[in-house]
Amino acid sequence: MVENSEAGTILNIEKLNVSYPIYEADPVHALRGLDLKISKGEIIGLVGESGSGKTTLARSIMQLISQPGRVDSGRIEYDGQDLATLNEKELRTLRGNDIAMVIPNPRTELNPLVTVGMQIANVARYHLSLPRKEAKAMALAMLEAVQIPDPLRRFKAYPHELSGGMAQRVVMAIALICSPRFIISDDATSGLDVTVQTQVLELLQDLVQQQGASMLFITRDIGITAHYCHKVAIIFAGEIVELAETKNFFNNPQHPYSVMLLSAFSHNPKLRGMWSKAAEAPPEGASGEGCYFAPRCVRASDKCWAEHPLLRTSGEAHGVRCHHPVER
């Protein structure tokens, strides 16, 4: 189980709006007024389905939103600094060094012509200004830390020669070698075999906590967060709809969408039916300003269609964005 986090905020996102303009059509709003605060040493699980905006969020934090997307408004503060005020050089100093990303599908994302050992070493070389020999030694030590068997031989291997699990460990080594204070893991374990996934998750959690770093763990699999995160955040249609400490979340999920996500794991279709329905069109006269989840919500009332709910925090730091949160 995860231990308690320290105080102090490392990442503060306020009312972030990101959209992708589309030629001759309405832009796609990937993130809408998203708020998120992550403390030092905290691991937050961010759960969402496809199209919820979770990958856009990851890229926004890295200030690498894919063209033609752009930030419309809002702030991302890292360790007190507004990232939008930094120039390209300063951002490059942060990336890979202080803020690192663990990516999925490593075999296609690693350079096929460079040995994995050198790819790890390169990050150390350029960020920590190390001479080649030292960087190589560090990379080797990192390979051991991520428990790759036979690290000396694997150093000289190329990405296509590694299995999925090993490539994932290499990517972790790259992310962690400069001891970053903040790590984003974007769906890093999807596509891995279950037994390998367990090993990788244990390892990631250990290393992150050893370094006292914070992590934003993005995933589609809500089950993982129950075992590896301090807090759980649910993202839907570009905003956070629920945020709570893990235990509180799973004992008392309050947002209807969260309950719907959890019901997907239940073996009881009747129960599932109680919490999900096909998307409905808004009723006549709806203002269009209502809750984004209303079309699929079984509890939607007129107020839900009319007024956009704010994220309200109840006791025990449990935030819900809903007019009619579930009460037990």
Binding site: G164, V194, V196, T198, R220, G223, S263, N268, P269
Partner: protein, 344 residues
């Protein structure tokens, strides 16, 4: 015989170009699927479960062993493309987007199998509409292209296309792996409903254990081309006897913080390559219970009763050490139901 499919001692080895080694994809696999039941093949990458699926369709000649469908032998000469079996065995693929022709409208795609069977246009269109209703696709979607549908809807199309010929057996190769959790549960519900209505047998290939628990009557756990354990779903999930099965099941992460993932058994290392496998049991490099006998010979199937077969010399010891109860999935189910009901 109510067995729709019988697989006996199936072996499939693929030669590697330019060398004398072979990829031992499937090594002596035997199982049966009865009418209207679901048998799931579970395993990780390299387990050979996808190859077994392909052998069953008769698209490759097995290196050894037999496959028979309703007592008739299946091989390259008598396979799903032949007149005999056309439409009786169907397939649902993993990536719905890639298995649908992007330039063909949904309605046409669904009706394609009937075209191969020679049905006429009016008949076909009637059937397509009926099937679309059954799988929960609106009539307008029949005129759309795959790119206009969500992943869940695309998979419904794949399923519609599979059931339209009223097959006796459907092979489903990881049909929900590419879907979001909510879409996944809807598709599984649909599959269960369809099975009840049409009495179709399913061979369900997957690595998603909680789905398998829900959907299957019987389960076969595969590792490096072998079935290490098979039996009824409750037996396998609550009383697994093979170290690999236990290791696999304990890796499943269910969304509940209260339940202890109770297992003394953990599998180290990674799955070895299926080329040049060692003598003896394939799990020896990772098994915490390994001893000399395991390295010397391959354990044969041990029948524990009720159709529960285990391939392990040490399974008695395994169950001794595995003291904690393994009703993880049952307990989760109870807690989940309580949680869901209480919110209403």
């Amino acid at each position: 015989m109510s067995d729709v499919l019988t697989v006996k001692n199936l072996i499939q080895h693929f030669p590697i170009a330019g060398s004398r080694s072979v990829v031992q994809a499937v090594n002596d696999v035997s199982f049966t699927v009865a009418r209207g039941e679901t048998l799931s093949l579970v395993g990780e990458s390299g387990s050979g479960k996808t190859t077994v699926g392909r052998c069953i369709l008769g698209l490759i000649n097995p290196t050894g062993g037999d496959i028979s469908f309703h007592g008739e032998k299946i091989d390259k000469r008598n396979n799903v493309r032949g007149k005999n079996l056309l439409g009786k065995i169907q397939l649902v693929f993993q990536e719905p987007a890639e298995s649908l022709d992007p330039r063909v409208r949904i309605g046409v795609t669904i009706g394609e199998p009937l075209r191969s069977l020679g049905e006429r246009r009016e008949e076909r269109e009637k059937r397509v509409r009926e099937i679309a209703r059954r799988v929960g696709l609106g009539e307008d979607s029949l005129y759309q292209y795959p790119a206009e549908l969500s992943a869940g809807q695309q998979q419904r199309v794949g399923i519609a296309r599979a059931i339209i010929t009223n097959p006796d057996l459907i092979v489903l190769d990881e049909p929900t792996s590419a879907l979001d959790p909510t879409a996944r549960s809807e598709i599984i519900d649909l599959l269960i409903r369809l099975q009840k209505d049409l009495n179709t047998a399913y061979l369900f290939i997957s690595h998603d254990l909680s789905t398998v628990r829900y959907l299957s009557h019987r389960v076969a756990v595969m590792y490096l081309g072998m079935i290490v354990e098979q039996g009824s779903a409750p037996d396998i999930f609550s009383r697994p006897r093979h170290p690999y099965s236990i290791g696999l099941l304990s890796s499943v992460l269910l969304p509940n913080t209260n339940l202890e993932r109770s297992s003394e058994v953990s599998l180290q290392g990674e799955i070895p390559s299926p080329i040049d496998l060692p003598e003896g049991c394939f799990l020896t490099s990772r098994c915490p219970f390994v001893e000399t006998q395991c390295r010397a010979e391959m354990p044969k199937a041990d029948d524990i009763g009720g159709g529960h077969l285990v391939h392990c010399f040490k399974h008695d010891n395994v169950i001794d050490e595995e003291k904690a109860t393994l009703d993880y999935f049952e307990r989760f189910q109870e807690e989940a139901e309580k949680l869901l009901i209480s919110g209403q």
